[in-house]
């Protein structure tokens, strides 16, 4: 059976730039351009990279905010105008249906950005749970671009200086090349940068304008993955899923204090017990030398007992060595703990390493 892949508004541009197109979450997306994953990764860390993330799910929610908040782990009253938060959509067992961004870029309710692979299920879940209380409107007619890297601010200072007043996790509506865009100062690389929601009719022109800036190169999904891995950020469906809680995923920080106190998000009882018991596995970072450890590789203690599993792994171009994330038993979670990762059956010495592997470079004002 042949699946018809969706195309983002920038599909023709990716092909024109020589992007190697692959299926990803139902979309035909560039995994890399002629510069290559290594070159794209380093370019983004050193200058600025432009990512097409239009496959992600954008939506707006207007109505009874308590009904939406009940599904999430954040406190919507803590998100003021022009602010954004990272939050989770848990299931009744405390497992994670998705991770997402919620924000108030304008006066019109809550703007949500969810993962591509989960967007249909997320939106159906939110619609069903908030029926009669609020309206969720999907925004498929907008492209989403991310401009990331230390020079992103210099590019924005030329094209949209007002946006440079934002600090990390702020958002708003700005005029970029004559078009009203929603923009936030955030991203998925560990670098300073901007995420820009653009009407699809203007997306190609604005992407070309951004790429025409000296600092900017197009970056594919391959380097997006290596950048986020070095930044210690989870990839949904790999480092987190319906069977891992926020406690296991080392994302307790994404549970608002008020929500934990009230215990009123799905699975809050499971999460509270795990926090108290301190027995569940935890997501950690791992570094090793030689062969990269990939997803699915088992983690063993020095006696050969299996104590965990790698959920993301590869070569970190900025670290200049293999890096991985995975889940390990509690006794092995402390940074500096020596373990083995079984790469093609052979034990390879690895060290539990504090995340992120590369220091975050966010602009906090």
């Amino acid at each position: 059976m042949t699946e018809t892949l969706h195309k983002t508004p920038l599909h023709a541009l990716h092909v024109e730039l020589g992007g190697k197109m692959v299926p990803f979450a139902g979309y035909d997306m560039p995994v890399q351009y002629p510069l290559g994953i290594m070159g794209e990764h380093k370019h983004c860390r050193e200058q600025a990279g432009l990512f097409d993330v239009s496959h992600m799910g954008q939506a707006r929610y207007v109505g009874d905010e308590a009904a939406l908040e009940a599904l999430l782990t954040c406190d919507l009253s803590e998100i003021g105008a022009g602010e954004q938060k990272y939050t989770l959509l848990p299931n009744e067992r405390g497992g994670i249906r998705d991770d997402l961004m919620v924000s108030r870029p304008d006066g019109n309710g809550i703007y949500l950005v969810v993962n591509a692979a989960t967007k249909d299920a997320d939106f159906a879940h939110i619609e069903a749970a908030t029926a009669g209380k609020g309206i969720l409107t999907r925004i498929p007619e907008r492209a989403l671009l991310a401009l990331q890297g230390p020079a992103a601010k210099d590019v924005m200072a030329r094209l949209c200086p007002q946006a440079c007043k934002m600090v990390f996790m702020q958002c708003g509506v700005f005029t970029l090349d004559g078009v009203d865009v929603m923009m936030s100062r955030s991203g998925y690389t560990g670098e300073d940068g901007f995420e820009i929601s653009i009407p699809e009719a203007d997306a190609d022109r604005i992407a070309r304008l951004l790429l025409a800036q000296d600092e900017v190169a197009a970056i594919g999904l391959g380097a997006r993955d290596s950048l986020r891995l070095e930044a210690g950020l989870c990839l949904y469906g790999h480092d987190m899923d319906e069977n891992r809680t926020a406690v296991e995923a080392s994302l307790i920080w994404a549970l608002a204090k008020s929500r934990r106190e009230r215990g009123d998000f799905p699975g809050a009882d499971v999460v509270a017990k795990q926090i108290e018991d301190k027995t569940c596995q935890k997501r950690v970072g791992l570094t090793l030398t030689g062969a990269p450890a990939r997803e699915g590789a088992e983690i063993a203690d020095k006696s050969g007992n299996i104590i965990g599993i790698v959920t993301s792994g590869g070569f970190g171009p900025t670290v200049n060595g293999p890096v991985a994330m995975g889940y390990v038993d509690r006794d092995f979670m402390a940074p500096g703990t020596e373990v083995d990762i079984l790469v093609r059956g052979k034990p390879r010495a690895a060290t539990i390493t504090k995340l992120p592997f590369v220091p975050a470079n966010f602009y906090r004002g």
Partner: protein, 121 residues
């Protein structure tokens, strides 16, 4: 010296009864930046089609298969420190192993340069 190619993008150059094996420049280009090569031990006996090495790029691990039967007589230790040689000089300094041929007639079943060029066109 004769060079032959496999459909899986290995090259094999024969000098007497010793063959040098690696992956083609085309394959290296498709994989992207090579960051690690896992090589077998000297003395290992291979049958045609055996997985004998693994090439790791930033994104993925790819297996390399023996083009012929034989015994490993040498491995390219230099790749441990400089895996990028596979990208820079795939059919030269980026060689993987040397194999003592068990059956030279197996080479006849592999592609010559013209056939391989057509295969990758």
């Amino acid at each position: 010296m004769t060079t032959r190619y496999t459909e899986d993008h290995e090259w094999i150059t024969v000098d007497g009864d010793i063959a040098t094996v690696g992956i083609t420049g085309y394959a290296a280009g498709q994989l992207g930046d090579v960051v690690f090569v896992e090589l077998p031990e000297v003395g290992k006996t291979l049958s045609k089609g055996d997985e004998f090495a693994v090439v790791e790029s930033v994104k993925a691990a790819s297996e390399v298969y023996a083009p012929v039967d034989g015994e490993i007589t040498a491995i390219n230790d230099a790749l441990e420190g400089e895996p990028a040689k596979v990208n820079e000089d795939a059919t030269g300094e980026g060689w993987f192993v040397k194999i003592k041929l068990a059956d030279a007639a197996q080479l006849d079943g592999l592609m010559d340069e013209a056939a391989y060029s057509a295969h990758t066109a």
